[in-house]
Amino acid sequence: MISFQGVHKSFGSKVVLKDLCFELEPEKIYSLLGESGSGKTTALRLMNRLLAAESGNIKIFGKPIDNIDPVSLRRKMGYAIQGSGLFPHMTIKENISLVAKQSGWSKNKINQRADELMEMVNLPPKQYLHLKPRQISGGQKQRVGFVRALFLKPKLVLMDEPFSALDPITREEVQDEFLSMQKKLKFTAMIVTHDLSEAFKLSDKVLMLNQGNLDQFDKPSEIINNPKTDYVKKLVSRFLKSREINYV
């Protein structure tokens, strides 16, 4: 699906990613996990060419990413961000269908897709499509954000802290909905997060980033039972402690 080979990126004198290597398989959910400044958002933005790597190879769908026009590349991927990033002057329908319309989808096809996805996130289309973003709640906005990201039937969805603006209860709900959508639509997802429990709950595999280095790339159970570096150990023990507190 997507592979990084020796990818290097720095901003000025500050090195952000060092020799990053990994490969993602189709129809799986991945998390990029690390503390702030670990380079996780930078890694995500390299995948849709919002940023360019200094050296190394990134391949997507088997092709070098530099050979694909950035805009058509982005239209093949979904992109969801923290706080949804919905355009305030457009209705929900205009928000989710803008790129489809610009890509030449017919009205019928757009209507069908809008209804289908809105049903899937439990927002009845008749009730919601004509509303403006300010008229719905934070959790609903985030769901609409997913619908927008998934509208063009992408095989890969990139998500930058998509759940972090939500309160804990809503977050759980939206995460569950996201998992059920992924099961139905079978896309690959790459989620940037700093929350271990979120990463472990959602992902098939987690990329543990430590100041630009990929410390470990494993299944959640493997990371918990077999942390490979001190940094991963520290994060895991912190995670286990917080779970204990929660249960006490």
């Binding site: 919002l50 805009v71 982005r74 923290q82 990033g85 355009f87 002057h89 457009m90 790129v99």
Partner: protein, 493 residues
Amino acid sequence: MFKSTLLYVLCFFCFLFTQIGQSETSTQTLVIGSKKFTENYILAEIMAQLLEHHHYKIDRRFGMNSSIVYRALKKGDVDIYPEYTGTISRVYLKTNQNLTSHQINDRLKKLNLSILKPFGFNNTYAIAIPEELSKNKNLKTIEDLKDSNLKGAITFEFSKREDGWPGLSRAYAINLDVTSMEHSLAYEAIKNNKADFTDAYSTDAKLKRFNLVILKDTKEFFPKYHAIPFIKNTLPQKVKDILYQLSNLINETQMIELNAQAEYGGKSFEQIASNFLIKNNLITQKKVTQSSGLDWSTLFQQTQRHLFLTFLAILLGVIVAVPLGIMLFRFKLFARPILVAAGLLQTIPSIALLAFMIPVFGIGVKPAVAALFLFSILPILRNTYAALDNIDPHLNEAAQGMGLYPNEILRFVHFPLSIPIILTGIRTAAVINIGTATLAAFIGAGGLGESIVTGLALNNNEIILQGAIPAAILAIFTELFFEALEMWAGKKY
């Protein structure tokens, strides 16, 4: 809904653009200008009616700023206007000598200008003080001012001219506190005891009205100011011959009388000129004029012209400043220097900017629109740039990340989100321009300023208000219109 709005907008512009035809002049037309004081209006109107009697078409551009009407004559946009020999020698030819008519004409040759024979009176500068003050303090000559403690209110022109206050105060060694203001306001200041003396013209009807007396110029400092028709050299001999009929026809007393008829007799310049020309057997028929009082058709015409000037300038402002703002947003390096330059433009006094426009655009509608356009750039440009620059970076990221092309981002995201703030900029520009457009009368562009300038010349508040009130109402309506528009645009959120 959209279509009908568009239709209204189109109709509005059609209404405004009916003005365009009116502003153009045919080649056979003679353009007569005048400065913005009563006597100059009357002399200009007398020449105009006399030439009309001889079947010339006349384009009247009255009430202009004095340096502007001279520039317009030099550039060829005005053919004739009444001027004074003293002003020509001192101000335009920059000499301190008292030149004869021949000497003046010799020196004017290279400018392609000339003067005709004098109208017959000398309207020199004078220093005037209230009669009562003169008696009480025994002030008879300018020299007497020396040891007084009086305050002066003098015109801007007088305060700067070498044959005005700077030269006078040196010649008489006077060192007094003077404030510069508009001529009509200076008289009001004296009436209200805010000032003690002012510069006056020796044929000014206001001297009588305000009970002022002239201090004797014992040192003969003030040069002779014979009123003459100041013309373009290229005028046909026939026109000059017609104007020669006016030579030595008006003496000082007669001129004061004509001035008084305008300022206190409630007569229009047209009536005064007609009566004068008939009395002297130069024309046979009175020019048909409107009766005094509120003249709705003039008001309508002036309002239409005012709106035309303002809206054309704003339209050009939007066409230039909005795309420029978008460019600055894309190429931020240029943003600061260009915004600073636009800011500097705004600091140029309106009347100065109008004067700068004359060498390029002549007089009339074009320079007025050009100046108003320049004034409208800053508010629109600054708001466009600020609106784009303040868009939530998350929205920017979302738009890029979802796969929109840069022009699509501009069209669907940046631009719609910026509209309310851009509209606020256009609103500011429009309201400023409605105020500033009153100055357009100084360069013969018409509009509501015409009434204001005429009213100031006649010291007639009623006429001033005929221009000022509609201008204020226009400004209020513009505010309300844009407020509604901004609310409509803001509703989208």
